[in-house]
């Protein structure tokens, strides 16, 4: 279909400002939070209701036009990168909190609602929405569902998949699905889990029921400094080995603490090789007990300095440094590239020393922040996109880090998603049989492959061409495909 014919069709039921196709209007949508990848969409559409979403999808389905869904555009893997001959479906106008049920502890919301706005609306009832990705001020709940977003508190409180009850979904054919329910489980296959983290490949979410969690009476954080990364890693294992599930457990290396300290003055020990932030929350009695035990464990694990937050201001100050890690990287370097591998925690020292070797090899600095409780690493590679060849070098460095994560028994992405960014590494993590199952799942929902084409799951051909495939135990991963 000719783009202008499509615009005409869409404008039969959408106002002028909801259908954009002039390049100056499209520019704002050419990338998401991963700005290294850019692509202008053919048309941007901004529906205001589920009914409009259905009508848009039916038109696209009939005309075989690709559709890329986009929430707040804060994603870090290029999942919302537009398609050159497709529609970018922005869901930001679906931004109503439809209902808060304080007794059942649920909120029914539209996908464009910001993550933090849910907690703000629930606060008067002593409740909040637990998953707290670092972008929570800006990111939308629909995007959180698409990426199965985590946050610093997810070891104790779970990821998005653990905190949603129900989705209303529109399929590419324009059909409505109700997945999950307001009760704790639903009959049939767990399509709620399948949809969560599916990166806009299976359907468009138009409504979500999220679980709300009672706000803790108290939270306190212990900040411990270590002169050696492995000691900090052991301290994490010792805390968990003692039967404590901290509300948050974050690690930063020296480059990271120095970068943020200059910026937020959190009071970090700048000589330390690693800083650990370990938070306890719960009832006053619980927190007192847990903090005492955490403090003891940190001492025994060889911490060179331990500080415990005395009040809420100090607690927030200790956290401010961790939360400012990404902007701090932006201050000390023109560009940075954030990785998202997850590893078994025992491999931490091994993987970090590997990253250090790669950093020397590529001549690029790398600061490490780490969701230590659940093994999710965020190495931030610092580079300058204006230096010819530096982005390519950075991407190669990043790819090597992900390969190391797979070798350590981990995964290429813990919470940011595959998107377009890690599509080649999918070929390393999965066999052709496994990738075929992913394509089969996609086909069960979207047989024409119109939703977010080219993202999340690589074609077998792409994997064969990518070339850097690993031969596992003598088996070739894609024996049926020719090599180029």
């Amino acid at each position: 279909m000719h783009p202008l014919d499509l615009v005409t069709d869409l404008r039969t039921f959408l106002p002028l400002e909801a259908v954009l196709y002039e390049s100056e209007d499209l520019k704002a949508y050419e990338c998401d939070g991963l700005s290294a990848y850019r692509q202008m969409p053919m048309i941007v559409v901004l529906p205001r209701t589920e009914d409009e979403v259905i009508r848009i999808l039916r038109i696209c389905h009939t005309s075989k036009t690709p559709v890329v869904a986009r929430g707040a555009g804060t994603g870090l893997s290029g999942g919302a990168l537009p398609h050159a001959t497709g529609i970018l479906l922005s869901l930001t106008k679906l931004k109503q909190i439809l209902e808060i049920d304080p007794v059942a502890r649920t909120a029914r919301v539209q996908p464009g609602v910001r993550n933090l706005a849910i907690s703000e609306a629930a606060a008067p009832y002593g409740l909040y929405y637990a998953p707290d990705p670092s972008s929570q001020i800006a990111c939308s709940i629909g995007g959180n569902v698409a990426e199965n977003s985590g946050g610093v508190h997810c070891l104790k409180y779970g990821l998005t998949v653990h905190n949603i009850l129900k989705l209303r979904v529109v399929t590419m054919a324009g059909e409505n699905l109700e997945i999950g329910s307001a009760s704790l489980d639903s009959p049939g296959y767990d399509l709620l889990a399948l949809m969560t983290g599916s990166e806009g490949m299976l359907g468009i979410v138009t409504e979500i029921i999220v679980k709300l969690t009672p706000s803790a009476e108290k939270a306190q954080v212990v900040m411990a400094a270590f002169d050696d990364i492995s000691k900090a890693g052991n301290a994490v294992a010792n805390v968990i080995g003692a039967g404590i599930i901290p509300a948050g457990m974050e690690m930063m290396d020296k480059i990271a603490t120095r970068a943020v300290e200059e910026y937020v003055h959190a009071g970090y020990n700048l000589e330390a090789a690693a800083i650990l932030l370990c938070e306890s929350d719960g009832t006053v009695e619980e927190v007192a007990d847990e903090i005492r035990r955490i403090d003891e464990i940190m001492k025994k694990s060889g911490a060179i300095e331990i500080k415990t937050s005395r009040d809420e201001t100090e607690r927030l100050r200790f956290w401010a440094g961790r939360k400012a890690a990404f902007p701090a990287a932006g201050r000390i370097s023109p560009d940075y590239y954030c990785m998202d591998g997850t590893i078994p925690r025992k491999s931490l020292a091994h993987v970090l020393s590997g990253i250090e070797r790669l950093s020397t090899k590529y001549g690029l600095r790398c600061m490490n922040v780490f969701h230590a409780g659940d093994g999710n690493l965020h190495p931030l590679i610092l580079y300058d996109a204006n230096q010819p060849g530096e982005l390519e070098k950075t991407e190669e460095f990043g790819a090597k880090i992900l390969e190391m994560c797979i070798e350590a028994g981990g995964t290429i992405t813990g919470e940011h998603g595959v998107g377009i960014e890690k599509i080649n590494q999918m070929c390393l993590q999965f066999s052709s049989g496994e990738l075929k199952i992913f394509h089969a799942v996609k086909a069960a929902f979207d047989p024409d492959g119109l939703l977010n084409p080219g993202k999340a799951v690589p074609t077998l051909r792409r994997c064969a061409e990518h070339g850097a495939m690993h031969v596992h135990q003598g088996e070739e991963k894609f024996p049926e495909l020719p090599r180029f």
């Binding site: 007794v103 502890r105 296959y189 659940d374 995964t411």
Partner: protein, 365 residues
């Protein structure tokens, strides 16, 4: 517990894959089984000359490092053995899966997706599943997810497999997140009416209280508190009620359905509904768990399935005929037609010849 050596284990996988391939070729249905403890659950498998696919011998723990909070085990591993190993390291399966007999295995636990008393506070089986190794309906050996807490690479096939009643594949190995045992547990009982109990359970669930299980039956609300001693004691003071002796045995009887409420010779319905639903008036007796979100119904008269299903639908939920000796009613709640279409298409993709536990969940799956 002994860790079995690898080689004979690979033989079991190869044999199972051959059985699946041969059955697929001849289009003969297979019944996946191991301990047989949950044989009663679900519909009868449909078809002639049903073959057996027994995974019991594929047992043993593959990897367990307590400090990583992850255990990986083969699906023939008995749940009692798995939980004993965890207990030695003061850890647990937080979803408290019902065993329904000593022979219960990890495979059956994941395939049925049933959770016990701690579910409302800690999460369900699916919330703890991190990864699976499986054979699909073509006999292909596949791995999804992994041994790490956070993993968004690819669709969440591990959770899709959980509760799929063996209709999408044969589970070989499962990695689960485990949690530390609470330092202390205490069981309280309070006398009240059903409507008050439902109101209280929901009210308390909205407060930062360490309530880890609830059960209302016959005018008594029983609560379990779990956590640090100081927190448990403080919560007891706030909530009131009487501490009862033998708390652990009580929760075990609810979990394993040996509590006097459960009468094996009568039909048992499992009603999963919105927790705040006021008392459901249906013929028979009820026992409430999960803060009001799970209601068990034992019916003296042969209660009409339509009536039960309609009552749960009105409460944003669904009804499962959990145990039934005589009733021919379908065990699982019917799905909306568009949802059934997605289910059928998924089944066709995972098991193209439709040989794995056909009909166990729904006709045509």
């Amino acid at each position: 517990m002994p860790r079995a050596s690898i080689k004979p284990m690979q033989n079991i996988i190869d044999q199972s894959a051959n059985t699946i391939r041969a059955a697929a070729e001849r289009k003969v249905p297979l019944r996946i089984c191991s301990g047989g403890s949950k044989e009663f659950y679900g519909n009868h498998i449909v078809g002639q000359n049903i073959g057996m696919l027994d995974i019991t011998a594929y047992s043993g723990i593959v990897a367990y490092e307590p400090a990583e909070l992850v255990i990986t085990a083969r699906t023939g591993t008995r749940l009692v053995d798995l939980e004993a190993e965890l207990h030695e390291h003061r850890q647990m399966l937080a979803f408290e899966p019902p065993h329904f007999g000593n022979a219960a295995t990890l495979g059956g636990c994941i395939a049925t997706g049933l959770s016990g008393p701690r579910r409302a506070s800690a999460g369900a089986v699916r919330d703890f599943v991190l990864g699976v190794r499986m054979l699909d309906g073509k006999g292909d050996d596949l791995r999804f997810g992994g041994q790490v807490m956070k993993n968004v690479a690819g669709y969440d096939i591990s959770r899709l497999m959980t509760g799929s009643m063996g209709t999408l594949g044969l589970l070989l190995e499962v990695s689960l997140k485990v949690l530390p045992l609470p330092p202390m547990e205490l069981t309280l009982s309070l006398q009240m009416k059903e409507a008050d109990a439902i109101e209280k359970m929901n009210l308390w669930a909205g407060k930062p209280l360490p309530i880890s299980a609830t059960c209302f039956y016959n005018g008594t609300l029983t609560l379990r508190l779990s956590g640090a001693e100081a927190a448990v004691r403080a919560a007891h003071t706030k909530l009131g009620g009487e501490e009862i002796a033998g708390g652990a045995a009580f929760w075990q009887s609810v979990r394993e359905q040996t509590h006097t409420f459960f009468q094996p010779d009568k039909s048992l319905w499992r009603l999963s509904i919105k927790s705040t639903t006021s008392p459901l008036s249906l013929p028979g007796q009820q026992l409430i768990e999960w803060g009001g979100a799970l209601r068990w119904l034992i019916s003296n008269a042969d209660v009409d399935a339509k009536t039960v299903r309609a009552a749960t639908e009105a409460a944003s939920g669904h009804a499962t005929l959990f145990r039934a000796d005589k009733s021919s009613a379908a065990r699982f709640h019917p799905l909306a037609p568009e949802m059934m279409n997605i289910h059928r298409r998924l089944k066709e993709q995972f098991d193209p010849t439709g040989i794995l536990n056909p009909g166990r969940m729904y006709p045509g799956l």
